[in-house]
Structure formats: structure tokens, C-alpha cells
């Protein structure tokens, strides 16, 4: 359930780490396994398995040491894994507000570290912790006593985490990092020990006590609802099905027409199309390659002078991210299951809200989809958001009077409102409001004032630059010449940008692929951004 950035493990700690790593990666994890104790798990994740196997075969004495260690674990004790978050790492850059406000890929929590715990443990009689952490419910604060160190942190429900394990991120609780990082969270480094046998750092511990306290804490999460509710938002298929039919899992959305036929929403049109004389910018996002790391979020932050709003504002649901990564867990309840078992609609949806014990996780970056029939455009009373004839939905900040109607009418909820004057308000001391900070803002992008709406511009400043360069050389922009900031930083090339009017552009090729689909196509808004089905190498029953 962690982000995969585990420190190196040592032989002595091997069984421990193995069990903690399990839930995130092991495909064989099934019902009942959640109750397994840390020992005796045969299949460890690849990265860990090798040293373990080596150690075990090399030295039978190690086995007895490990067994002896395990015997020391008392009933009710937890096993702790100390990990690094994708954004903050070990915390050396903790003073960077962008990283603090970057939601953790899995928990979607910003600005804090916390104790991740399995829902089964949180529900146990000892704790009875609040599960629905985030905006609606306060997290219970617990004390973790490990190696003589006590860490006091809020507890966060992590579906898929093995029972009996907890995780705490490094990089927090700094005292001399600077005004942003000081005093946030608790420092987990003191809990890291040095293995006597081999001198390596030990990023895990057994026999950890977790004590409930009476305190509560409000974690700042950007996403407080965790499942897809049976909607075709992230489309998935299996490799086998994909090989048979490349359109697998991407059944077209069809609308019934008055003449008795059916057609896709993109072809059913009440409006006149905007002319696309020259360019028609578009973007593809491959859900197959997206890791959910969040690099694009930071890329967008830095390119577009997106404000950091701080913990309290995130708690109120006011993060300014133009680009967000949605994370969905699967739920045990599905449409199919409800139908088979005759579950009523109310119960079905209530069950769908609950992630399964060992869910699959999908990520989906969502920014403005630059709808060709944009619902945000029609409702603005002053024409502050309009359509360019190159397919962009453009926001004219200077014209915006801040009715927020466009934000309400955006089906993707990607519009962000400037609730305060972030760039000139001492309550938002995240470097944008001081002279030094202002000097490193991107000069190509306006800093938004209070009371206006903003959103992804498809990095229009970069498009403009690319077009001008091409024009100077008397040619059209070539494929890959114009890169949006999010595309540029994506480590897996999940994001591709280009001109859909130009057949040589990769994005145009993508748009013709069978895996291509538009998010919420059925609303009939013809987005310019499209996604590519996620293909998994699993059996059909596991999907």
C-alpha cells in the first residue's frame, strides 16, 4: 500500500518487511490472508525475496534468530514499516510547500504524516478508530511506542494494508528545515535502528505498541471519497481480452436517438461545432503507464504559478491543483454482484462506497478536458471563459467576476477558485507572497488575483511559444515540439500532447487507437483530452 520506495532491507529483518510489503503488491492476497501473522509467507515481492532466500539458504542460524525475534512479538503488538512518501522522500526537501501540498498517491493526504493501519485493526475493540478520515471525520490520534521512542500521530485507514502492520512516513517532524516544514507531523527517524549484525539501517520494527489517545486530528485530504461507485471512469481490461479484441473494456457509450438508432455522444450534436481551421490541440493520457506519482502535479504547479494554500484550506476542500490525480480503490460490491445477489440500490451504493480489504488501485490524472462543447463556457455571464478556435477552453482572468457558475457546471470539477489573494496574503506564507519567491514565478504566466476562477490552460504559453518558433521557421509545429509541463515531467510518458489536425502527431495516432476513450463522454461535451484503457496482466476473475 506504500509507494514502492522502500529502503534496502537486511536479512535479519526480512520476514518482517516481507509481510509489510505484501498487501501492496502480492496478487495472491485473498480474504483471510489479512489475518496472517508476519511469518511463513512463502512468496515475497521480488525485490525482497532475493536477499531473503539467500539469507535463509546461506545460514540456518539466521532462521532461528528470525524465529526467536518473532517469538518476542507479543499478542496485540504491531509491526511497523517506516517508508518514504513519493513527494517528500526522506524529508530533505520538506521545506518545499509544493511537496507538502502534493497529495500522497495512495492516501491523498497532504501536509502530514500519519499511521497507516488496516481497517480491520482500526475496527478492533481496542481502538474503534474513525475510518472515514479526511474532511468529514477527525482521525484518532494514537501513540506508537517503538524502540523506546514514542510517536504521536493520527491514524489513517489504508485499505489493503495487512492486519497487524502499521506504516509511518519519514520526512516529517522537522525542526530546523524552515518555516514551511517546521513542526509538521512527527519525525520517524528516531525509530530507525541500526542492525547490530550487519550495520544497516533497520526501517522496520516488530513488537510495536499502539496506544489510543483521546485526541483527534483533522487530516487534510484532497480526495475523501475513494471508489468509482460502479461508474466507467477508469476503464480496465485484461491482457488476454485485449489480445483478442483491442477494444476490450472500452465499450462505446451509445445514446438512443429518436429515429431508433444509436450513436456515440460525440456524433449527437445540438450545437454547431467550433471551426478548427488550423490547429486542434489535444492530449492523451495513458492509464496503462500512469504510476500516480504526482510529478505532473508539481510540474503544473511550477509552470503555471499555481498557489499553495496550506493545510487548513486543503481541509476545506480548496486545493488549487489544476491537475489532480484521482485514486480509486475497487470495492467488493459491483453492479454485477448486486444484480446476482439481488441487493437493493441503496445498499448497493452504500457498499460500493467501501473499498475492499485488498483493493486494486487505479490512478487517473484529471485536468481541464478542454471540452469542445464546454458547459463552463455557456454559463459565464461575462464571457470570461471562452473557446479558442484551436480547441482550447481559455480562461480570461481579467474578465472574470467570480460567480463560480462555471466551476459548478464543470462535470470534472477541475476549476479552481481564488478564495483569497494567495499571492499577497500573509496567511499564505508559501513563498509566493515574498519578494524572493515572486522572482522565481514563471514570468509567462499571470499570477491570479483574488476572486477569479482558474484552471488548466493546456500550458497555452508553451503552445504560443511553439507556434511562434515554428512560424519563424516557416513550418508547422512538429510532433513533440510543444510539450505541456505535465507531459514534460511524466517519467513514463503517460501524457502526450499535440495537434489533432496533424496526422503526424502522436496524439492523433493515439486518438485513433481502440483503447482511446473520453471521460464522461455521455455528457456530450466532447473533451479534447482523452484517456487510454488500462490493460492489466491478470486473469479476468481478478479484474
Amino acid at each position: 500500500m506504500h509507494d514502492g520506495v522502500y529502503p534496502a532491507v537486511t536479512a535479519g529483518a526480512a520476514p518482517v518487511v516481507e509481510a509489510a510489503e505484501e498487501p501492496a503488491t502480492a496478487p495472491e492476497h485473498k480474504e483471510g490472508d489479512a489475518h496472517a501473522t508476519p511469518h511463513g509467507r512463502p512468496q515475497a515481492p521480488v525485490a525482497v525475496a532475493a536477499p531473503v532466500a539467500a539469507a535463509i539458504s546461506a545460514d540456518p542460524a539466521t532462521i532461528s534468530t528470525a524465529a526467536a525475534n518473532l517469538n518476542k512479538v507479543k499478542g496485540g503488538a504491531f509491526e511497523l514499516v517506516i517508508y518514504e512518501k513519493t513527494g517528500l522522500g526522506d524529508g530533505r526537501l520538506a521545506n518545499n510547500p509544493w511537496l507538502q501540498e502534493l497529495p500522497d498517491p495512495i492516501s491523498r493526504v497532504t501536509w502530514d504524516n500519519y499511521i497507516t493501519m488496516s481497517i480491520a485493526d482500526m475496527n478492533s475493540d481496542d481502538f474503534k478508530f474513525n475510518i472515514l478520515n479526511g474532511q468529514e471525520q477527525l482521525s484518532n490520534v494514537a501513540e506508537v511506542v517503538v524502540n523506546g521512542v514514542t510517536l504521536k500521530l493520527p491514524v489513517y485507514a489504508s485499505p489493503g494494508q495487512a492486519k497487524g502492520t502499521i506504516g509511518i512516513a519519514l520526512g516529517y517532524g522537522r525542526t530546523k528545515a524552515g518555516k514551511t516544514a517546521n513542526g509538521i507531523g512527527a519525525n520517524a527517524f528516531p525509530a530507525v535502528t541500526i542492525n547490530k549484525d550487519n550495520g544497516f539501517f533497520e526501517y522496520s520494527a516488530v513488537d510495536v505498541k499502539v496506544n489510543k489517545t483521546s485526541e483527534t486530528y483533522n487530516l487534510a485530504g484532497t480526495q475523501t471519497f475513494h471508489t468509482m461507485m460502479g461508474r466507467a471512469i477508469v476503464k480496465e481490461t485484461t491482457l488476454d481480452a485485449y489480445k483478442k479484441d483491442a477494444k476490450a473494456g472500452n465499450e462505446p457509450v451509445l445514446l438512443s436517438l429518436s429515429n431508433g438508432t444509436k450513436d456515440t455522444p460525440n456524433n449527437v450534436n445540438l450545437w454547431e461545432d467550433h471551426p478548427r481551421l488550423n490547429h486542434k490541440w489535444g492530449m492523451s493520457i495513458d492509464l496503462n503507464t500512469c504510476l500516480g506519482c504526482g510529478a505532473c502535479v508539481i510540474g503544473c504547479h511550477s509552470e503555471n504559478n499555481v498557489a499553495v494554500v496550506g493545510k487548513d484550506e486543503v481541509r476545506r476542500g480548496r486545493d488549487m491543483h489544476w491537475l489532480r490525480i484521482d485514486r480509486y480503490y475497487t470495492s467488493d460490491m459491483t453492479e454485477k454482484k448486486a444484480e446476482e445477489e439481488g441487493v437493493g440500490a441503496i445498499d448497493k451504493f452504500l457498499d460500493m462506497e467501501v473499498p475492499s480489504d485488498s483493493p486494486r488501485v487505479v490512478f487517473q490524472p484529471v485536468m481541464c478536458q478542454h471540452c469542445n462543447h464546454a458547459p463552463c463556457e455557456t454559463v459565464c455571464p461575462v464571457l470570461a471563459t471562452t473557446h479558442s478556435n484551436e480547441g482550447l477552453n481559455q480562461m480570461t482572468y481579467n474578465r472574470c467576476i467570480g460567480t463560480k457558475y462555471c466551476g459548478n457546471n464543470c462535470p470534472y470539477k477541475v476549476r479552481r477558485f481564488n478564495w483569497f489573494k494567495y499571492a499577497d496574503n500573509s496567511a499564505f506564507d508559501f513563498h509566493m507572497n515574498d519578494t524572493l519567491g515572486k522572482m522565481v514565478l514563471n514570468p509567462d504566466v499571470i499570477v491570479r488575483g483574488r476572486g477569479v476562477m482558474e484552471k488548466c490552460s493546456m500550458c497555452v504559453q508553451r503552445i504560443q511559444e511553439g507556434k511562434l518558433n515554428a512560424k519563424k521557421e516557416g513550418r508547422r509545429p512538429i510532433d513533440g515540439e510543444i510539450k505541456t509541463a505535465c507531459q514534460q515531467v511524466c517519467p513514463t510518458n503517460a501524457i502526450t500532447f499535440g495537434d489533432l489536425n496533424d496526422d503526424t502527431h502522436t496524439v492523433t495516432k493515439h486518438s485513433k487507437e481502440p483503447r482511446m476513450y473520453h471521460l464522461l463522454e455521455e455528457v456530450g461535451i466532447q473533451p479534447s483530452v482523452f484517456y487510454m484503457t488500462k490493460v492489466r496482466n491478470v486473469s479476468a476473475s481478478e479484474l
Binding site: 471512469i233 455571464p381 467576476i401 478564495w419
Partner: protein
């Protein structure tokens, strides 16, 4: 009209065998006498709440909309809820004075003045919200299609918000003119009875030099009729257009064609409820029991049953349509309304708006002033919840579950709402003490037709002369003789 035979089949609309002079005296009494302690207490409280509301608006404008409870998913909540609620309340006045005038419903005469005043004040309260929900109020005038030097910038005629601007400003100005024209002869009566020079001067100005000659009366009647004709479509158009803010959007729960008739019925429903709430207080406090009778209350209660039932049918139709549409988003939106985290708001709305008004089928309840008062409060609350349910529950869970969020009002949201109620009562209380709260010129036209009346004037409870002497204590001077108009 005045000589129609009195009809014993109907309950009289004016009780207590009044004479023309009695009507004048009764209705001018609050203007001519001193307010009692209760008035000052209520006024003081309202005034303080109003100031609190103004303070919070200033705080909002000075700091940013962030002081409200809105978030990235729910970008309208209490603001637009209150706006639609107030606008709805502002529907009864014009309906009573325009549509009921055209339908020759005489019972409206006892309540139209106050109901119209309520309309004007409610629209003023409503206007607070669309104005101050703007992130940049100071450039709010950009919604007006004014010639400008910003280049070719013009308003977006596709936007329902712009239609709102036109609809509401038209409604407000027509209602204001209609109300004011009706007031002119009554102001003249007050002017003629006025005893202090200041009051005389003020009412002289307000009455526009009304002389009461036949020609003036003839024109007065004509203008009233024309304005009634003009405002009738407005009663229907305003809420239709307000409903289009939602109906033309793509958000499940908003995007429905049933909204215009449903909103209009709801507006009339809530308007009458508010008229009842206020009139029941006014008749008691100002001693107008003879003019606002059980018959009036009953007539209004019947309208409440009708519109309440329309609203109830609309709620059920909405549920049916969402299921029948087969659209998963629609289906979920309505299921979520009724059973999701805001179930309490939905069921408050259902109980207050659908169940309670049905009690008016029982004549006993319909004729009971206490029951009517309580139910009218229920309807006011229910109609607030209706708007809250439509706005917040639709936004808080729309298409992508990743952006689903709850909304929590901040103290500023609540404070501005309470402040607007304060503002409303400040205006209404001032109105009750300075304006004739019942259209006495109209009332006099039905005196003979609808009840027993006295031909001769009995002794008034107080003599104008005494009051004059009292106010001029120590001063000598000619008494000003009040002359009244019939």
C-alpha cells in the same frame, strides 16, 4: 362596484361594522400614534442583526470568499439557496396584486399592500446574494451590457445568470412601481391627516400632489390595470428564469426540464407562507383583526394547498424521471438526496412542504390561526431546505466520485443569512409604522359590498384635535384640519 348587494353566502371581508372613517382611522393609527415597546425591541434586534450581516459582508468583500464554507466542488451553497428562497418569498406580493386583481378576487385588498411590500423587501434581500457571491463584486457591473471601452467585451447572452439579472431587475422595478402607485392615494390620506409639519411635508412629497379628483382616480384605475397586466407574466417569468440557472446546466439533479413550473409553484407556495406568517403577526400587533380575517387566511391556505400539492407532485415526478431516464448519474443523484449524507435536508423538505400543507384539507386547521401560523413557518423552513437540497446535494456528489465533498457553512454564511432576515424585518417594521399597511382606498370600495357597515361615523377612539394639541403643547397656532378622502 361599491353598490353591489351584500352577499350573505360569503363571509364578510371586513368585520365589525366599520364605517369609511373607521377604516381610515384604523389603518392610519400605527402611523399617527407612537410605537409600543415591543416594536422598539423587535426593531432593535432586527437592526443589530442587520448590522452584523452588513459587517460580515464587508468582511467577505475585504478578505475573500474563502470566509464562506464553499469548496472546490460545492461552489454555491447558502448564498444561492438564500437567493432563491428570498426571491421565492417575493412572489406572493405581485401575484396577489396582479393576478388576483385580474381575477377580481376582492379578498386580496386586505393583504396586497403588505404582501407587495414584502415582495420588494424580499427581492432586496435576495439581491444581496448574487451580488456578494461574486468573487469580484467591484467589477460586477460587467454583467450589464453596457457600452464600454474594454474592447469588444459584451455580456454572454447564453448565460442564465445574465437572464437572472434582467428578470430580477425588471421584476423589482415593476413591482416597485406598482406598489408605489397603489400607495399614492393612501399617502394623500395620511398627508391630509398629518399633524406635524415634517410629516405633512414628507407625505406631501410621497403623495405626488394627489388631489383625489375624478380624473386622477380614473387614471389611477387604468394604470393599476395596465401594471397588473404587465406584472402577471413577470410572476411566472422570474422564477422560471431562476430555475434555468439549474435547468440549463449539466449537473445531475439540476439538469431537468420540470424546473420552471416546479419553481414557480414553489415560489408562490413560499410567498404565501411568508405572507401568512407576517400578516398573522401584523393583524395582531397593529390591531387589524377586522380587516385581515379568518376568511382571508382561509383563502390563502387554499392557495397553499394547491401550490404545495403541485410542489409535492413535482418532487415525485423528479424521482420518477430520474429512475425512468436510465441515466446512472441521475438515478444516483436522487437516491443520494433521499438516502445520502444530506437525507435530513431532503426529509425536512418533504415533511415541511408536502406533508404539513395537506393538513389544510381539514377546515378546522385551515381556519385556525395558530395552526396556520405554525404551518406557514414549516413551509418557510421547508422551502429553504428545498433550495438547499437542490443546490448542495446535486453539487456535492456529481459525476466523478473523486471530487465528492461535503459542505459546511461557516459563521459568515450563517451570519449573512441571519443578517438578511434582520434587514427584511427592519424594512418591514419601518414600513408598518410609516406606510398604510392596508390599501385603504381599495378597501373602501368593497366595504359596502362585503359586509355590514355603518353609514354614520361614530366617535373615533382619539380625536385628531387632541393629538394636535398634544403635539403643540405650549404653542399656539391654528389647528390643521385633517380631511379624508374616500
Amino acid at each position: 362596484m361599491a353598490h353591489a348587494p351584500s352577499n350573505n353566502l360569503r363571509e364578510p371581508l371586513i368585520l365589525g361594522e366599520k364605517s369609511y372613517h373607521d377604516i381610515t382611522v384604523d389603518i392610519c393609527r400605527p402611523i399617527e400614534t407612537r410605537a409600543n415597546k415591543l416594536w422598539y425591541v423587535v426593531f432593535g434586534l432586527s437592526f443589530i442583526t442587520m448590522l452584523w450581516g452588513i459587517g460580515l459582508i464587508a468582511y467577505t468583500v475585504g478578505t475573500g470568499l474563502g470566509v464562506w464554507g464553499l469548496n472546490k466542488s460545492v461552489e454555491w451553497a447558502w448564498d444561492i439557496t438564500n437567493f432563491v428562497w428570498w426571491i421565492g418569498i417575493g412572489h406572493a406580493g405581485t401575484l396577489i396584486s396582479a393576478i388576483l386583481l385580474l381575477f377580481r378576487q376582492r379578498w386580496r385588498m386586505s393583504i396586497n399592500r403588505a404582501a407587495e411590500a414584502m415582495t420588494i423587501f424580499a427581492v432586496i434581500c435576495a439581491a444581496i446574494y448574487p451580488v456578494f457571491h461574486m468573487g469580484r463584486v467591484w467589477v460586477g457591473y460587467w454583467v450589464l451590457p453596457l457600452p464600454n471601452q474594454f474592447g469588444s467585451l459584451w455580456a454572454n447572452f447564453n448565460s442564465p445568470l445574465l437572464w437572472d439579472v434582467f428578470a430580477i431587475s425588471t421584476y423589482f422595478s415593476v413591482s416597485l412601481v406598482f406598489w408605489y402607485i397603489g400607495l399614492i392615494p393612501d399617502f394623500a390620506t395620511v398627508r391630509d391627516r398629518a399633524i406635524t409639519p415634517a410629516a405633512k411635508k414628507a407625505y406631501t412629497l410621497l403623495s405626488f400632489g394627489w388631489t383625489g379628483n375624478a380624473k386622477a382616480w380614473a387614471r389611477f384605475e387604468e394604470v393599476s390595470l395596465v401594471l397588473a397586466g404587465l406584472s402577471t407574466p413577470l410572476v411566472l417569468s422570474v422564477h422560471t428564469i431562476v430555475s434555468m440557472d439549474f435547468a440549463t446546466s449539466v449537473i445531475p439533479g439540476w439538469h431537468t426540464t420540470i424546473f420552471p413550473p416546479y419553481f414557480v409553484a414553489g415560489a408562490i407556495f413560499s410567498g404565501f407562507a411568508m405572507v401568512l406568517t407576517l400578516m398573522l403577526i401584523v393583524r395582531k400587533v397593529l390591531g387589524l383583526e377586522a380587516y385581515i380575517t379568518v376568511a382571508h387566511v382561509e383563502a390563502m391556505n387554499k392557495i397553499i394547498i394547491l401550490t404545495g400539492s403541485i410542489v409535492g407532485v413535482a418532487y415525485l415526478t423528479e424521482l420518477f424521471m430520474s429512475w425512468y431516464s436510465g441515466v446512472e448519474y441521475e438515478q444516483y443523484a436522487f437516491l443520494n438526496r433521499a438516502t445520502g449524507p444530506y437525507w435530513w435536508a431532503y426529509w425536512s423538505m418533504m415533511t415541511c412542504n408536502v406533508v404539513t400543507p395537506q393538513l389544510f384539507w381539514f377546515p378546522k386547521i385551515r381556519k385556525s390561526l395558530v395552526a396556520t401560523f405554525i404551518i406557514s413557518i414549516f413551509v418557510n423552513i421547508g422551502m429553504w431546505f428545498e433550495r438547499f437540497v437542490i443546490i448542495v446535494t446535486s453539487l456535492h456528489r456529481d459525476y466523478l466520485p473523486s471530487s465528492w465533498m461535503m459542505f459546511h457553512p461557516s459563521f459568515v454564511d450563517i451570519g449573512i443569512f441571519v443578517g438578511s432576515i434582520g434587514l427584511f424585518f427592519v424594512m418591514f417594521l419601518l414600513f408598518a409604522r410609516t406606510f398604510p399597511v392596508i390599501a385603504l382606498n381599495e378597501l373602501k370600495t368593497i366595504l359596502k359590498a362585503t359586509g355590514k357597515y355603518k353609514r354614520t361615523s361614530p366617535q373615533p377612539e382619539y380625536k385628531i384635535e387632541d393629538l394636535i394639541l398634544e403635539s403643540r403643547k405650549g404653542k399656539s397656532g391654528a389647528a390643521i384640519h385633517g380631511e379624508e378622502h374616500h
